[in-house]
């Protein structure tokens, strides 16, 4: 009998909770101009109250700090503004290293400009979450992300940033390119004078392979890369452009972010994603001192809805949201193979080890930066 009563009580409590939720969701905003936005929210942001929309509209603007995935971000922002015309979005884009340092410097100086920040290093985002640098906000689509693709209530992954080895197909034969199907292949002396690397300081996607290589293959691996006398390129975008033009033949730590737009434009490039792969998450979070906290929450919600995420993913990178099919045209190419497994690594340790990795890098490759 007590068991039965307890079930009845739990059932009633559940119904009550459901009714409360439904009540919150159905409390439409008073301004009829927000009807369209509200309808979309009800459909794709279950449980998000109308008060968030009203507060966001009152703040009316938002600043997003984003990376070199310009096309993806701008497409998503454009659609967000169509869905929520009461919020205008300002944008700042730079390489991760520069973007991150700008945000940190602004925060230290007490000049809070950024509402939304993105970073290619999950370790950095986790660190900021632990130091109260990020706003704790659990999105309505939280359940769509695995533990590795989020830190509950702090950041959520926009993509898995796949690190690859890229080459110019006009200059590297198919036979030679076979050597590039494994990480060990990049140290082959055949690439001496033909290869380039992206400086590890450029951001998480550029840095993570150096950390993983050092951790898994030891300093000798870096020394072998150094022996190739690779050209050091400061960031992913110019490195990809140099590859497309044929100024370099092989890019040893390539990011799909730089390569995909060039491939779409017909550049003679290909890349391999060795298995096991290296794929750090690119996360998005709300700054703790965001000057427009409600607009930021609304944007954070939108970014991870089916629509917002889909728009971003189509141009931005491999999906990190559960059940999303990779919509990028490259995913349909026969030569394109996503790794079946990834080299495990601890993002926190990767962040903490940055100085020692850079020191080893300088010893093996060069003093630049």
């Amino acid at each position: 009998m007590p068991k039965f009563l307890s079930r009845i009580t739990m059932g009633l409590a559940g119904l009550l909770l459901l009714a409360t939720d439904a009540g919150a969701q159905s409390a439409a905003p008073s301004d009829p101009k927000l009807a369209g936005s509200w309808a979309f929210m009800q459909q794709q942001m279950p449980g998000v109250p109308a008060s968030l929309l009203e507060a966001a509209c009152k703040e009316a603007s938002l600043m997003v700090y984003y990376g070199t995935w310009v096309d993806a971000e701008e497409a998503q922002i454009k659609r967000f503004q169509e869905r929520f015309p009461c919020v205008s979005v300002e944008k700042f884009t730079a390489d991760t290293g520069q973007r991150r340092e700008r945000w940190l410097a602004e925060t230290r100086a007490g000049r809070h400009i950024a509402d939304i920040i993105q970073d290619t290093d999950p370790g950095f985002l986790n660190d900021q979450a632990s130091k109260n640098g990020l706003t704790e906000y659990k999105i309505s689509n939280d359940g769509q992300f695995d533990a590795a693709a989020k830190k509950d209530g702090y950041w959520y992954a926009l993509r898995v940033a796949l690190v690859g080895i890229a080459w110019n197909t006009d200059l590297v034969s198919d036979e030679e390119a076979k050597k590039l199907s494994t990480w060990q292949g990049i140290t082959d002396p055949v690439w001496a004078g033909r290869a380039a690397i992206v400086d590890p300081s450029a951001g998480g996607v550029a840095y993570t392979p150096w950390y993983v290589w050092l951790k898994n293959y030891g300093p000798e691996f870096l020394q072998k890369i150094g022996a190739l006398k690779p050209r050091i390129i400061a960031a992913i975008t110019p490195a990809s452009a140099a590859l497309a033009s044929g100024d370099i033949e092989v890019l040893l730590n390539a990011s799909e972010t730089g390569l995909l737009p060039l491939l779409d434009k017909g550049a003679p490039i290909r890349w391999s994603l060795p298995d096991p792969g290296i794929g750090p998450m690119t996360g998005q979070a709300i700054a703790a001192a965001a000057p427009h906290p409600n607009a930021a929450k609304l944007f954070q919600e939108y970014s991870f809805t089916e629509e917002g995420y889909g728009i971003w993913q189509k141009l931005g990178g491999a999906p990190a949201r559960k059940g999303v099919k990779d919509q990028r045209p490259v995913a349909q190419q026969s030569w394109y193979k996503v790794p079946t497994s990834f080299i495990p690594y601890d993002p926190a340790d990767a962040s903490k080890s940055m100085n020692s990795v850079l020191e080893e890098y300088r010893k093996s490759i060069g003093n630049a930066r």
Binding site: E101, S201, A242, D247, M354, A368, R369
Partner: protein, 405 residues
């Protein structure tokens, strides 16, 4: 402003100009001294301003002044400055002499065209030269390779590449200074030399050159300082080959993970010494130059050197300079703007008008408007400030005016 007014400030000026000069010095203190003082303060801190638990340290100065990496960067900065200043003077001087003092055909048109490189940001020139002379895919290297088999005739990612881009820019600056000096020399002196039977070359070396020597020296120093403090050219062209100058080190210390803003501040003080020493030397030379009363600032008619057949060579020299400093970079830029991606392998499918279509749409056009706004406001604001500054320094005899100077 005379040397006398600099060395003998008096307090006998009327009250209003003295107050104006005081206010001006106060303004200069805020906009010049405050940031410099803040840099010094930051250079002695263990962490950037605003960081909790930061204390005082000498470690940043130790790193910036004594560590091999920074000493290398300082050495690179000085060598680059000296080489660029010297070459710019040689080329700019030759251009100035050709245009001002010879019967080279087209010299009046050249006088206008030679200063065009000064109107182009050297960041843009650098990007254009990367397109032209990147070792494997630069247009020049690719086509020379196609016709001669030589893999790379000129690598822009090198010390000589950095020097080339700088010299093409600053030769125009040297031209401007030396052209004005050559035009301002009292023509009767040279006439007298010719009448005494001295030839044009000997007259140039024995008389004209000493007369413009102060201009040469000050131009050298100004170019040296500009180059020592330039960041975009060595950063873009030097980083791939591990060649760093102080400004590029400072940029990376400030902008790239993990940042070292306090070391950047200490390195900034090294640059400050370079600029200060250069400025003091330049002022001394300018003061001495005032004694050369034959360089009057008044134009006078000069006898042009008749070069005969050689005038076509001098013409070709100017055309070559214009081709390298303006023609080729602009051709590369225009060509690049019409391509999907930069490549020397020209095929119909790489050409597009999309870059222009997107450039004029939405946010993409905003930088153009920003640049225009900045140019107009900055130009206007600076002109007003410098007119006032010149007035205070030149017309007001007070200690404040002396300080402002």
């Amino acid at each position: 402003m005379s040397v006398q007014s600099m060395s003998e400030p008096s307090s006998s000026a009327p009250l209003l100009p003295r107050v104006a000069s005081f206010l001006f010095v106060a303004f200069l203190l805020v906009v010049v001294i405050t940031p410099v003082a803040y840099v010094f303060y930051g250079s002695f801190r263990t962490d950037s301003p605003g960081a909790p638990d930061a204390g005082f340290t000498l470690a940043n100065w130790q790193t910036a002044y004594l560590s091999p990496v920074y000493l290398d960067a300082l050495w690179n900065t000085v060598v680059l400055g000296v080489v660029v200043a010297a070459l710019s003077l040689v080329i700019g001087g030759a251009l100035a002499w050709i245009v001002a003092r010879t019967d080279t055909p087209g010299r009046n048109t050249f006088a206008l065209l030679i200063i065009v490189p000064l109107m182009i940001s050297n960041l843009i020139t650098t990007l254009a030269w990367i397109a032209l002379a990147a070792p494997n895919a630069g247009f020049i290297n690719a086509y020379v390779r196609m016709f001669t088999g030589i893999r790379t005739i000129f690598d822009i990612y090198s010390f000589s590449g950095i020097v080339t881009v700088h010299v093409l820019h600053y030769a125009a600056f040297a031209f401007l200074a030396l052209f004005a000096a050559l035009r301002s020399i009292d023509a009767s002196l040279e006439e007298a030399s010719y009448m005494l039977g001295v030839g044009p070359l000997r007259t140039s070396i024995r008389m004209t050159l000493p007369l413009i020597a102060p201009t040469i020296a000050t131009t050298f120093l100004v170019i040296f300082i500009f180059v020592a403090e330039n960041f975009s050219v060595p950063t873009l062209l030097g980083t791939p080959v591990d060649f760093q100058t102080l400004p590029s080190m400072i940029f990376f210390n400030m902008a790239v993970t993990p940042t070292q803003p306090t070391i950047a501040a200490a390195s900034g003080t090294v640059l400050l010494w370079i600029a200060l020493i250069g400025t003091v030397l330049q002022r001394r030379m300018t003061s001495r130059a005032n004694r050369y009363v034959t360089v009057t600032g008044k134009g006078s008619r000069h006898r042009l050197a008749r070069l005969g057949i050689w005038r076509y060579f001098t013409c070709a020299f100017v055309v070559l300079y214009l081709l390298l400093a303006v023609g080729l970079p602009y051709i590369a830029l225009v060509l690049g703007s019409l391509m999907n991606f930069l490549t020397p392998r020209l095929r119909p499918e790489v050409f597009t008008l999309d870059n222009y279509r997107t450039f004029f749409v939405g946010d993409n056009f905003a930088p153009v408007l920003n640049s225009l706004g900045l140019s107009i406001c900055g130009g206007l604001g600076l002109t007003i400030i410098y007119v006032l500054l010149s007035f205070v320094i030149g017309r007001v005899r007070s200690r404040w005016a002396f300080a402002a100077d």
